[in-house]
């Protein structure tokens, strides 16, 4: 057994860590968050230049051929910096969907440009009624001439406000919640009939809802076979889950570090508050939650790129359940142990807490994944 990163992986992690430390100190992060763009275009460019946007792609497409563990290293560091760039959406998720299901043309055109940081693609899978069920798709795509006409609404596309291209799931067949009949389309956000309602998010990012009103797309907008996107989406959502777990671990580590420092310096009743046993034990609980989450993030990363199987699904659901609960516990306790200071906008901790809670609202919270896991229980 060896849980250490190999040399290349360590180098990768160090590269991202250095970049984040240099470019993403908290004051800057607040500025990025408040800007119109909602993140740093410059930081995104650097991610591209350093080859980090190519990490998971195959070498023949200009990628690095990175494993789940490589993605994990990047995401953990981005989580530590509370980075706002759509790395998970574009590189992991959109990149994964295109890699898995895209035509040669699509791969060549899109992946090569994602890899260099030129192209941002954001994916819309949720809908107002879907509540994390990715098969719950009411957006419809009707055949029309050579292409399709799309109608419906996709919800909460983080980073979608600034995306060059949007991928959406839409029904070409079947009923709501059937696992077959879902297709995946690329939509130009500036095309006629596409409307974006843009908003900030609770954790300082920006996102949008995308309204599709008789949006005409060509046959080349279809990604993969018609009606067959369901399993592809499920598979890639699993990779996104692993990435989110890794990001959460970075945010948890930072929250714990900040809280620990605070317990050692904040004095009340003439002693550092870290001398109070109840707070010591709470800190221990938080740290062991983190360790559990770290373990599950490693496990998730190790299966993220495996072939689809119940075992992979179980592990990914378990990982998201554990990190969801750990993240919420750590977020809430970190605020509590800071007292009033933990509630303030000016202090980074509150923003870590918000990100940790919001990660639970991406690709399912702990309840959702507990249900998934229960549904996949092995009889014995």
């Amino acid at each position: 057994m060896d849980f250490n990163l190999n040399e290349e992986q360590q180098m990768l992690q160090d590269t991202v860590a250095r970049l984040v430390r240099g470019e993403y100190e908290f004051e800057k992060r607040l500025k990025f968050s408040e800007s119109e763009q909602g993140y740093s275009e410059d930081f995104w460019k650097q991610l591209g230049e350093l080859g980090l946007c190519a990490v998971p792609f195959p070498e023949e497409l200009g990628g690095f051929g990175g494993s789940g563990v490589d993605v994990q290293s990047v995401m953990t560091e981005l989580g530590r910096g509370l980075c706002l760039e759509p790395y998970m959406q574009t590189v992991v998720l959109a990149g994964g969907l295109i890699s898995q299901a895209g035509s040669d043309n699509q791969k060549e055109d899109w992946l090569s440009r994602i890899a260099t940081g030129e192209l941002k693609i954001v994916v819309g899978l949720d809908e107002p009624q879907s509540h994390y069920n990715l098969n719950d798709v009411e957006t419809r795509a009707e055949k029309s001439g050579d292409g399709y006409v799309l109608n419906g609404r996709k919800g909460v596309l983080i980073g979608g406000h600034a995306a060059d291209l949007i991928l959406v799931s839409a029904r070409t067949g079947g009923d709501s919640r059937d696992d077959s009949g879902v297709s995946l389309f690329a939509v130009d956000p500036n095309a006629e009939g596409v409307e974006r309602r843009v908003y900030p998010t609770m954790d300082g990012a920006k996102g949008c809802d995308v309204f599709l009103n008789n949006v005409q797309v060509g046959a080349d907008a279809l990604i993969g076979a018609e009606g067959q996107a369901g399993p592809v989406i499920q598979y890639q959502a699993g990779r996104a889950v692993a990435a989110l777990c890794a990001e959460a671990v970075g945010a948890m580590e930072e929250s714990i570090k900040l809280t620990l420092e605070y317990l050692k310096t904040r004095k009340q009743f003439g002693v550092p508050i870290g001398k109070f046993q109840v707070l010591q034990h709470r800190m221990v609980d938080m740290s062991s939650e983190l360790e559990q989450a770290r373990s599950m993030s490693i496990l998730a990363a190790s299966v993220a790129n495996d072939d689809a199987s119940d075992e992979r699904d179980r592990i990914l659901a378990a990982a998201k359940n554990v990190t969801g609960r750990a993240g919420q516990f750590i977020a809430e306790q970190a605020i509590q142990l800071h007292g009033g200071i933990g509630m303030t906008w000016e202090y980074s901790l509150a923003h870590y807490a918000k990100r940790l809670i919001m990660i639970n609202h991406q690709f399912g919270d702990d309840d959702h994944h507990l249900e998934r896991y229960a549904g996949l229980l092995e009889a014995s």
Binding site: M202, D209, F269, G339, T344, W345, M358
Partner: protein
């Protein structure tokens, strides 16, 4: 044992309901129920309606314009007003400083301040906490040095709730550095328009401006504004805390929040059905409803013991911890109910005047901010850890 209300109490409840039905402005109730933003004017409008009814100063003796309610009546009022969506009174004037002035203040202070609290001319805020003194309040450093007929005050207060609206602040200040920390503190009333007072906003993690820092730079305060005796302020502060802690359990508010949660879970969808029918979510709601039931009866037991002549002691600390945990769980579930839509932070939708389409649930925009805002419940009014320390000492004798 009899857990039912008496005929008189039932009649009182009917009066309360009739009053709320007739007099509570619908727009204000809507804001409260939906967790939208309240303006200063909303608070003032409701205060005047209550004052006119004679129901504003529920902790005051009648001779000063109060109303003589029993503990049960106060409880009924709390439950019903929460249920109808009445705003909670901002407590600093009416429920905090006033009882102290009534009990320890001079006759002149009573004549001067009490009517102004009722009329709304004075909006009070609480100047206890300092950057270095939170849980350990007695370590406070803001200095008041006597200079003839005045005190000269220097120092800083923090976390001052709604200080941006206030024109009066009651402060704990240090008047003696020679004695034990608790024995050199005085209770001072300060006009915030006095030169040298500066208020600066603190924005909380949910983007709200609710708390402030207040700076005192050579502020001249007439000695007339000292309540009771110099250096005896700690006694008065502790007396006030007993008022602050009553009601911090917020049972009535939790009941209202729970019914709001159920309404939202009834509208949200999961797997093609209302979320409230989803087994996992239904169980979560059931659990918090059960916990609330238990806390509510515990609350009634404390009320009954007070009615019987007892003094609520450390039991109210247990209830504060329980009550705030329950409320926090309810806000957690309300946020969870939105699924992915807990992420957007659309501030426009928090204004009642907003006429655009709501992004998700009609009340959805408030739910995530509220979840984060309610983290304060376990921090202020004596943090939950401090409450447990009190129980440890006072009840368990450890």
């Amino acid at each position: 044992m009899n857990m039912n209300y008496t005929a008189d109490e039932l009649a009182f409840r009917d009066d309360v309901r009739t009053f709320l039905e007739e007099k509570l402005p619908a727009d204000i109730a809507a804001k409260v129920k939906q967790g939208r933003r309240m303006s200063r004017a909303d608070h003032e409008r409701w205060q005047q309606i209550l004052v006119k009814q004679g129901w504003y100063a529920t902790h005051w003796p009648e001779e000063y314009g109060g109303v003589k309610w029993t503990a049960v009546q106060k409880h009924i009022w709390d439950e019903e007003s929460c249920r109808y969506g009445a705003p909670r009174s901002i407590p600093f004037g009416v429920n905090m400083v006033a009882p102290v002035i009534i009990k320890f203040g001079s006759e002149e202070q009573k004549q001067h301040y009490l009517p102004r609290i009722l009329s709304g001319e004075h909006w009070w805020c609480q100047g206890y906490s300092e950057p270095g003194s939170g849980s350990d309040l007695a370590s406070l450093k803001t200095r008041a040095v006597r200079d003839g007929d005045h005190y000269i005050v220097n120092g800083q207060k923090t976390w001052t709730t709604l200080g941006q609206h206030a024109n009066m602040i009651f402060c704990l200040v240090r008047t003696n550095t020679e004695v034990k920390a608790q024995e050199g503190i005085s209770f001072l009333l300060i006009d915030m328009d006095t030169p040298g007072v500066t208020v600066r906003p603190i924005i909380t993690l949910d983007g709200e401006h609710e708390v402030n820092e207040v700076f005192f730079d050579d502020v001249k305060v007439p000695v007339y504004n000292l309540v009771g005796e110099e250096d005896k302020g700690w006694t008065y502060a502790k007396y006030l805390l007993t008022y602050e802690r009553t009601g911090l359990a917020g049972i009535g508010a939790s009941k209202a929040a729970l019914s709001h949660l159920k309404a939202i879970a009834g509208r949200q969808q999961k797997n093609g059905r209302p979320l409230i029918e989803d087994p996992t979510f239904a169980q979560r709601i059931a659990q918090v409803e059960i916990d609330l039931m238990a806390a509510s009866i515990s609350n009634l037991r404390i009320i009954a013991s007070v009615e019987g002549g007892g003094v609520p002691g450390a039991e109210s600390s247990m209830l504060k911890v329980r009550g705030t945990e329950i409320r926090q769980t309810i806000t957690d579930l309300s946020r969870r109910a939105l699924g992915p839509y807990a992420q957007p932070f659309v501030e426009e939708e928090l204004d009642l005047a907003y006429e655009g389409e709501h992004l998700s649930d009609e009340d959805g925009a408030a739910l995530s901010p509220q979840y984060f805002n309610m983290r304060k419940l376990s921090i202020f009014g004596g943090s939950n850890e401090i409450q447990k320390n009190i129980v440890t000492k006072m009840i368990l004798g450890l």
